[in-house]
Amino acid sequence: MTKPRLPGPLRSASLAALAAILLAGTPGAGAQAVGADSIAEIRIGLLSQTPEPPPSVSNPDEPAADDGLAGATLAIADNNTTGKFLKQSFVLDSVEVPPDGDAAAALRELAGRGNRFVIVDAPGATVEALSKLPEARNLLLLNANAPDDALRGSACAANLVHVAPSRAMLADALGQYLVKKRWPRWFLVTGRRPEDKLYADAIRRTAKRFGAQIVAEKEWTAESDVNRTAESEIPVFTQTKAYDVLIVADEVGEFGDYLSYRTADPRPVTGTQGLVPTVWHRTHEQWGAAQLQSRFKAAAKRPMTARDHNDWTAVRVVGEAAARTRTADPDRLIAFIQSPDFTMSAFRGAPLSLRPWDGQLRQPVLLAADRSVVSVSPQEGFLHPRTELDTLGYDQPETLCKTRGKTTP
């Protein structure tokens, strides 16, 4: 038997996996052929990658080992409860990639097993790299974690939709509330990591959009153990011009939690710590959220996190599309999810739907303090001719995405 010549990127893949990949590329594969009374299987892959937290962080709330995965697992159960009335069965195929692991190989593995939907719960760089793989061309990747606006802009892709909100959406959600409260003078404190700079950029964009003013900016560069020095360092660090609120950009949580109650002036802390824009919070109970909270708690034995909720939503996007179209055909499901007819409920009031210009899921954003939900954006009075949800993040005329259709929703 002669060894088949394989194209470069596939050479390492086993023959069986290759066959499966080729199969996955043909329309209708991944969904078992449907007889009149047989059950149609819909496979959903979950590729998770959790970056290693920096050693300096003192983290009082160690994330659970199944953070994210538990949300996807519950959503599969929810999909199957509905599915049993429609003869549809949902299977989660979960792969955990180590921080320095080969995400591309993991995606090939998932595609090889017939997963046409792959939820990517990973940093932005991984999401972007995966979306460009030839093996991903026929898949629908659901970004359930990375907030990077570039993924929705210059790096957007037709096979990539974003379940997690972008940094611009989070910043706008916070900014609308601060402007509504008439707290328009912001003191922006940015951490030393690249993602902190991106968060700060989003805050600057928000200030410009909603007429707020960044009156002062500082960068937190301290290398010392902030836990021990905060009480002396932060009052000095926060001496600046008169401002209404401090906005901190510290995504990994290196120092942001130490700002509250230690600023020179008595001012609230918001941003990545303090009052935080987020998709989910353990105290959120409106719009039937109490039901999802208790269902999750019963299954996972802990409260639902934002990461769990994003993964839950991603799996539900596929489930909702399958119920609405009554099909398990991945091509039809992918087309429906990206069509203006797709809407779903996610316990935050307004229905979620997809922005065709960048593949972003429109959604309300909660503003949460430690033990309460303070408000939900968009705020009243921020108007939009299509839906108020489009006041959050990049609207159609501003999008930097060129490869997606420009069709009006």
Binding site: D78, T81, T82, K84, F85, L86, G288, Q291, S294, R295, A298, R316, E320, A323, R324, R326, T343, M344, S345, G349, A350, P351, H384, T387, E388, L389
Partner: protein, 325 residues
């Protein structure tokens, strides 16, 4: 001419007097979800006359067939409480399954069918023996409940599954499912049982389903000037017995839609309190009561005039409403 006018006036006075005496006998019960109480409103004075302490997180409420008892879904007590209206005391609990939210009483008054929101189950309780008759599996987050006037069908809507589940009450199983708009909240049969009206909170629509075929035959859409489409979230539905109107509570849109039940056209939108949730008609069909969760009050609507006549402050998060005629 003068005589006729006089007659006209006295006739009006007579009608008013009759109305007043009819209203005098009416008592309105409102469950306050966040106060663990019921507010009692006198139909004549249109004011709160009493507040009764009940179980935790009371939501759906309904009167017993003979009108002497009120069934209350005490969701966080995982029980349906039975309140004796004369003594205003909870006399016993019915086994309800976990987290009961809404229920419906069969036309013979003997079966209470209950949505167990957290466990994707509908529980049917035999009221006289106070025992669970049977349970059936339904979709995710069962919510809206009704029983057809002939007692054949029990229906349940499941919010996350977005379906109506048709329970054959004799066979004791789900025999059909109808897909409706996202997050169906409430179901009501027409008086003749030929149609089932179902609201979809996130879909922003009401589906009219033909009972015989169990297919959606009409979808009613709502548009209110100056209110974004996604804030129009239909919840409670009430149909008048004469088949004239369907009233639809539109949640955070703070309006009740008046739908012509024959042409399915929306005739009017009545401004009520904030986050209007559930509705109840008086037995004489002349008055509609709405619970307004966020503003913590009840709006009173004159059905003939299609006007809101009064707003009555009740407890925190009024949810269910029932009228004793």
């Amino acid at each position: 001419m003068t005589a006729v006018r006089f007659t006209g006036i006295s006739l009006a006075a007579l009608i008013a007097a009759t109305l007043a005496s009819a209203a005098a006998a009416q008592t309105i019960y409102v469950s306050n979800e966040k106060d663990n109480t019921l507010s009692v409103i006198d139909g004549k004075t249109m004011s709160v006359t009493d507040t009764i302490k009940v179980g935790k997180r009371p939501r759906g409420i309904t009167l017993s067939k003979d009108g002497t008892q009120l069934f209350i879904c005490a969701s966080d007590d995982h029980a349906v409480q039975v309140l004796d209206l004369a003594s205003k005391k909870v006399v016993h609990n019915l086994p309800s399954g976990e987290d009961p939210e809404q229920f419906a009483l069969s036309p013979d008054g003997k079966s209470l069918i209950i949505a167990n929101e957290d466990s994707n189950i509908v529980t049917v309780v035999d009221v006289p023996t106070r025992k669970v008759a049977f349970q059936v599996d339904v979709g995710v987050e069962p919510e809206g409940m009704d029983v057809s006037p002939d007692g054949r069908w029990g229906v349940n809507t499941s919010e996350t599954t977005s379906m109506v589940h048709w329970i054959d009450m004799e066979k004791r199983q789900v025999v059909d499912n109808t897909l409706v708009g996202p997050r169906p909240r409430y179901a009501q049969f027409t008086r003749d049982g030929s149609q089932l009206w179902v609201s979809s909170e996130i879909g922003g629509t009401v589906s009219v389903i033909d009972t015989a075929s169990r297919k959606v035959t009409k979808v009613v859409d709502f548009h209110i000037k100056g209110i974004a489409k996604d804030r129009i979230q239909p919840v409670g539905v009430k149909l008048t017995d004469d088949g004239r109107y369907a009233f639809v509570a539109l949640g955070p849109a703070n309006h009740v839609a008046v739908v012509d039940a024959k042409t399915f056209e929306v005739k009017d939108y009545l401004l009520v309190g904030r986050r209007v949730w559930q509705l109840a008609l008086t037995p004489d069909q002349k008055t509609l009561y709405t619970t307004n969760g966020v503003s913590g009050d009840v709006s009173i609507i004159d059905v003939d005039a299609l006007k809101v006549t009064k707003t009555v402050k009740v407890g925190r998060y009024p949810w269910g409403v029932a009228v004793k005629g």
